[in-house]
Structure formats: C-alpha cells, structure tokens
Symmetry: C2
Subunit: 145 residues, 2 copies
DNA sequence: GTCGATAGTTGACTACATCAAGGTTTGAGG
DNA sequence: CCTCAAACCTTGATGTAGTCAACTATCGAC
C-alpha cells in the first residue's frame, strides 16, 4: 500500500519506489535475524561489516556504520564481552585499535550473513530470464561509475 | 567493496547482493534526511508511513515500523509535542487512538519523502532503456503475488 | 455477564545516537 | 628538534529507542 501514483512517475522513479518497498521488508528480516542471534541491530551490523581474517580499525567501522567513533567503542565493548571480537593494538599507528573476529564471532557473522543473503521471495519467484535481466541491469548500474 | 564472489552466485543471488549495496546507501540518506529535519530515525519513519488526510491507529503504526506498541506511544508523544501529529479518539472502538498529521506534520512528511524519493545515482545514470527494463522486472516481482 | 483478547500506556532496563571533553599519538612546519 | 593541529579512541552526559512485564480500558463472543 506504499505505492501511490498521484502523479505520473518516470521509469526510474517507479523502479526506485518498488525498491524501497523491498527495503522495508529487508529491514524486518535484519531485525529478526539479529534478534534470533541475541544481537542488537548495531551489533549485527558491525559483525556483518567485518571480514573473518581481516583486522578493522575502529574508525573505519564507524564510517561503515555511519555513526560516531564513540558509538563504536560501546558496540565493540559489548561484542568483546561476548567473545565475538577482540581489540588489538596496531603497532604502525598507536592511536589506532583494530577489531578482529574471534572464531565464535566468525561463526555468528556467518549466520547473520546467511540470513541476509537469502533472496527475497519477490525476486526468487521471478523467472530465470527475469532474474538474469535484473542482475545485468544492476551490474550496469553499479559498474558504470 | 561488499561484492565478493567466493563461490559462484546465481543470478538472483548476485542481483540481491547488488541490491543490498543500494539499500545500505539508502540507509545513510535516510539518516541524513532525518537529521536535517531534526528528527530521530524512528520519528522520520513514522511520519513517512502516514498519509496526510488519513488517521492511523497506533497499533497499525507499530506494525508498519515493526516495533512494539509501547514504542509507538513514545514516538507519537514526541511528534505530538512538536505539533507534527495529533492523537484523536476513535468512537467505533474506544480502545483505539488515531494519529493524524497536522499541517506542520504534513509539511515535514513531504520533505522527508522528497529526500527519499530522489532516485539514487546508480539508477539515475542508467540508460532510459535500462530504467524501463528495471521497472518492468520489478513490477513483475511485486505483482506476481 | 463472564472471560479471553486487543489497544494503549507506564515503568524498568539496556542499548544506541550525539555531543563535548580529555588523553595519546602522529605528522607537518617552523 | 619542538610545537601544534589533527586523528584516534575513550569517557561522561543526555535524550531517544527497543524489549518486556504489568496494568487499565474496551471489545467480542459465548
């Protein structure tokens, strides 16, 4: 019921309108996935941004979550308290601390990403031709920088 | 940099992967738009869900925001304190309270939606043919329920 | 008319956003 | 060198949001 065409929409506008509906559904899935793993949304978001063998500076995490540095401090505190990540000093620049996934954290991260990677029904029920069409258009959208 | 293909992705999976990148960027835009209007994300979300001349029961708002009823109480409290919405009793069912946009609220809502309706660059720079293609595929995705 | 279910509120608790301030470290310029 | 602005992280204060349990009022059905 979010789709209301009071004025005529351009193709791009209408496409974007539909995409935003997907976004709403996606948000729910994300919240549900996080809750199922006993994570708060921000914590789940942080885990998702991390790569298993790769150390990430706190401030970079802040950028990716588009939030304040001081915010990341708290989030990482809690993740660390649960043994999902570790802080590690960074010799090259001692202002920086790196965050690393522990094995337990890697496991949880995999599960969060598993939930989110599942293709939404709306897309899954498209014909294979349409799925390929969609993929190709989207590829062009992001690559033609 | 979110696109990593460690295993071969199906067309749907790859499409979904790209879409999630778009949605991430969208989240930032949403936060920025809300901040610009001095709204917290949940408040902006609530305003977006409301239609100008249409009263909405609190619990329906809770459903749309996928949050608790008690949560909506607080959000509406604050919106009401700023004169953006009003609570109104509902005679047919006196357990229910309706929320209605005030003129000021309607104005703010329009501005929030204006921000969000702006087509992202990635889609905007597609050829018109591709935009139509995208729109058509997405139409099929949501309508073939 | 009783009783289970629903709508909204309240209160307690945690987490998170934002901002200002402070400590440490770095890098660049004098 | 040495200073100094800037970057990184942390802490504390404040307001807001999410979750859960309890409570009131109302509805609907039996």
């Amino acid at each position: 019921m979010t789709t209301v065409a009071q004025t005529q929409l351009s193709p791009a506008e209408e496409a974007w309108d539909i995409l935003r509906q997907l976004l709403g559904a996606e948000r729910r899935r994300f919240l549900a996935a996080a809750a199922e793993l006993d994570l708060h949304p921000a914590q789940a978001g942080a885990l998702m941004k991390m790569e298993p063998g790769t150390a990430m500076p706190m401030h970079e995490l802040a950028m990716m979550l588009s939030c304040d540095n001081s915010n990341v401090t708290g989030i990482v505190d809690r993740l660390e308290a649960r043994g999902l990540v570790t802080r590690r000093p960074y010799a090259q620049d001692r202002r920086v601390k790196h965050v690393v996934l522990t094995p337990a954290g890697t496991d949880v991260r995999t599960r969060v990403r598993g939930h989110m990677a599942k293709v939404p029904e709306a897309i899954g029920r498209l014909s294979l031709t349409d799925q390929r069409l969609l993929r190709d258009v989207l590829r062009r959208a992001v690559e033609s920088g």
